[in-house]
Symmetry: C2
Subunit: 454 residues, 2 copies
């Protein structure tokens, strides 16, 4: 019996309470924080609030660190967060941190370079890493996880997708048993903030400016509104949930910049709204993946995501749909994800891992679509559009035209029955050439209740 | 450097990919399945579908095992599940399984006894346990986790709450960094099925019979409709999310049996519906906890749970509200939770653990309430009710009375402004004594958008 138990001890990782007891005896885990911006400050505040046992922030990295240090400590004087890091080594030398006896690096600087080299450097030295860096994990996550495993280090990145919404641990630990085939969601809080304000009547430019003023959107809003931020998150979800490794840049993105007030007015009449949706679906050796503004029926759970809320819906072959929703951005929710990962690293709680398969990406999808035209009115427009669609085997479903617009610049919409988006684009190319068209038609996929995982 | 890395290897638990590689070298993990009912069959089917590496079901326990074996194998002939267990040792002797070289016990028999003794026996022998047994974990989870830790075994119970909704791993791994203060949810699929059918016009007795025919409700539906099933889950969530150990039987439950069609008709007029809600909220050394039918505004996320869907909303001091939703019952979703836990055990992925504090339970809550009276009509009823409320310092908000009912048995409702439920009960006790009252008033808490975590 004794022999058997000894064998077990070496085979089974340190469980729950044993880990806690062990921590009490182990030395303190030393943490270096790279980047003391909004999220970094949130992490320090949360660590101070939670008074987590066995953890000490010993190093702070920031650019212009002397200035940063003075300003930060002044701003946080008298606060518990101040006490937590006032005696840390503040540095702008990554090499100093990598060469130190720090156990865990919390990387919050973002971007593929130079952060990627720093993370590689830490893992190569056997230091564990907790990061919120979605671009780095999207592009290099698999390589970095392998490096971490080789060095017996942990690499956790729960904050990279969904901010405070625990979809990564949920999918890995909670849905690991299922065969997940689809994941869709609202992954970018800025787009959702903009589109839900537009739904309530605001204008794109106006609400973008508001989002920038509130700190939700960057001065250059492209990563958000053009879909690159959501794309990185979708690629990570494809890996974690669909166990599919896909090429980031092969995933098609469409900007939300062309969505106008008129589109909300027409979709409202259809019982729908418009949201930036990220979807990926396993289909044999392909993953069908897209990030685009889509028309969403208000009856779907995902349409209920207002403001900066993130919502992710997974679909499992066995367990069906599971919804995760919460605050996807902001210093505090993101800090929750970072500190939760930190806790897991400190306790040696490894994520469940499963084989991941490389799959090709296609943006092809068969779905109903919403088309919005802006024309100089004259006879024959509808028949011209209908003809072009018919020649491509596409059935018109409805045509809607509100009154009260000038015939010189008349907006109207059509919806088409489910068709292949690439075929529809061909038809739209020829429609664009009609001389009445004042701008290229806007074309949005319509989600339906029959789509799994919406 | 070498010395340092060696030290790290002993300190940090086996991470992700390393665990997978190790598994390939380790011997197969042997699994005993206790209980081959609906969920057990789902687990076998899912294991056959996923073809999980490194796992073999070597033992099946069931009562009347010879009969069970013949019937089950005949029913599943030609199916992949058949192949998975046809050569297992089928037994009705738990002692045989405990004495065997099985590594992991999957306990699906349910109930505190004798399942508790079997789980204890397995853990005491260093065997890990995966269970869906909510009553056992509610009553004895802390004791069993301690025993597991002592024996270097794992005890996972993700299927005990929410079926396929990964709220336990989500809270432990994903929200471990936050300070969660409140958890509410729809935790019993049977009640939700019944109440959402009643919302659509069905009668309680009729829909209960339908639920029983569909296998959602037991012949004795008390555990579901009277709240004991949801209570066990709430106690587990209080431990996992609120880090509070509370006495199961101290948590007040109210049956849904008294809810009638008339209540849906009145609450519909208020923009609300009725659901069985389980709530727990940390308040100093207390946890305010209740399981009861409550009036839920349709604008709240939780009102969108139809049929057997489960929804859990956690509220964190730092990260705000997080919603988890999905299929809370049924063989397949529950099997997903069981197999996900199995995967975690096989990979040695320990759950994040945090100190849990004993807290006292109180059912006291300050909230607006819905009151429904059935009276023999006569003058002075409203003034009698209003007087009794006023004497207890409770303000009437609205009174609603539909036409078309007999004066001999007249239903009408009132809502009262936020008040302490215990004070309200005192007022209702005196109101009950009014000779016009044909039955004791029905009193339901009304959830509001201001309540956190709904």
């Amino acid at each position: 019996m004794l022999k058997k138990m000894v064998r077990k001890v070496t085979k089974v990782a340190k469980p729950v309470e044993a880990a806690m007891v062990a921590d009490a005896h182990d030395s303190m885990k030393k943490i270096a924080l790279l980047g003391l911006g909004t999220v970094g400050t949130g992490v320090v505040e949360l660590l101070a609030l939670r008074k987590l046992h066995g953890v000490a922030v010993t190093h702070i990295y920031n650019r212009n660190v002397e200035q940063k240090r003075a300003a930060w400590l002044a701003k946080h004087a008298q606060k518990p967060a101040h006490k937590l890091i006032e005696n840390a080594a503040w540095t702008e030398s990554i090499d100093e941190i990598l060469a130190s006896d720090v156990d865990i690096i919390v990387e919050l600087v973002g971007g593929v370079t130079p952060a990627g080299d720093w993370v590689r450097g830490a893992l190569a030295r056997g230091k564990s890493v907790v990061t919120a860096n979605k671009q780095l994990i999207a592009y290099a996550g698999t390589e970095l996880l392998k490096l971490a495993a080789k060095r017996n280090a942990h690499l956790l990145y729960g904050a990279a997708v969904g901010g405070g919404v625990p979809v990564i641990p949920g999918a890995l630990q909670g849905l690991g048993g299922d065969s997940l085939t689809q994941v869709s969601g609202i992954l970018n809080g800025t787009c959702n903030f903009i589109l839900s304000k537009m739904e309530a009547g605001a204008d794109f430019a106006e609400v973008l400016a508001e989002a920038q003023a509130l700190g939700y959107a960057e001065a250059d809003p492209s990563a958000d509104v053009d879909g690159y931020d959501a794309r990185a998150k979708l690629v990570i979800l494809a890996r974690v949930a669909l166990r599919s490794e896909i090429d980031v840049e092969a995933v098609e993105t469409e900007s939300i910049r062309r969505i106008a007030a008129i589109d909300f007015s027409y979709t409202r009449e259809m019982g729908c709204t418009i949201r930036q949706i990220s979807r990926a679906q396993v289909d044999g050796r392909f993953v069908r993946a897209r990030v685009a503004p889509m028309v969403v029926p208000k009856s779907l759970a995902i349409a209920g995501s207002h403001g900066t809320l993130n919502t992710v819906v997974t679909h499992g072959a066995f367990g069906g749909d599971v919804v995760f929703s919460g605050h996807g951005a902001g210093a505090h929710p993101t800090a929750v994800a970072v500190v939760s990962d930190l806790l897991a690293v400190v306790q040696g709680s490894a994520q469940v891992a499963q084989p991941v398969r490389k799959r090709e990406v296609t943006g092809e999808v068969t779905a109903p679509h919403y088309l919005r035209f802006i024309v100089r009115d004259k006879p024959g427009i509808v028949s011209g559009i209908a003809g072009a669609l018919a020649r491509n085997g596409i059935n018109l479903d409805t045509i809607l035209q509100h009154t009260g617009f000038s015939k010189d610049r008349l907006p109207f919409i059509a919806t088409v029955e489910p068709c292949l988006n690439t075929t529809l684009r061909k038809a739209l190319k020829s429609i664009s050439r009609m001389d009445c068209m004042l701008e290229p038609p806007l074309c949005l996929q319509i989600l339906t209740a029959e789509d799994k995982s919406v």
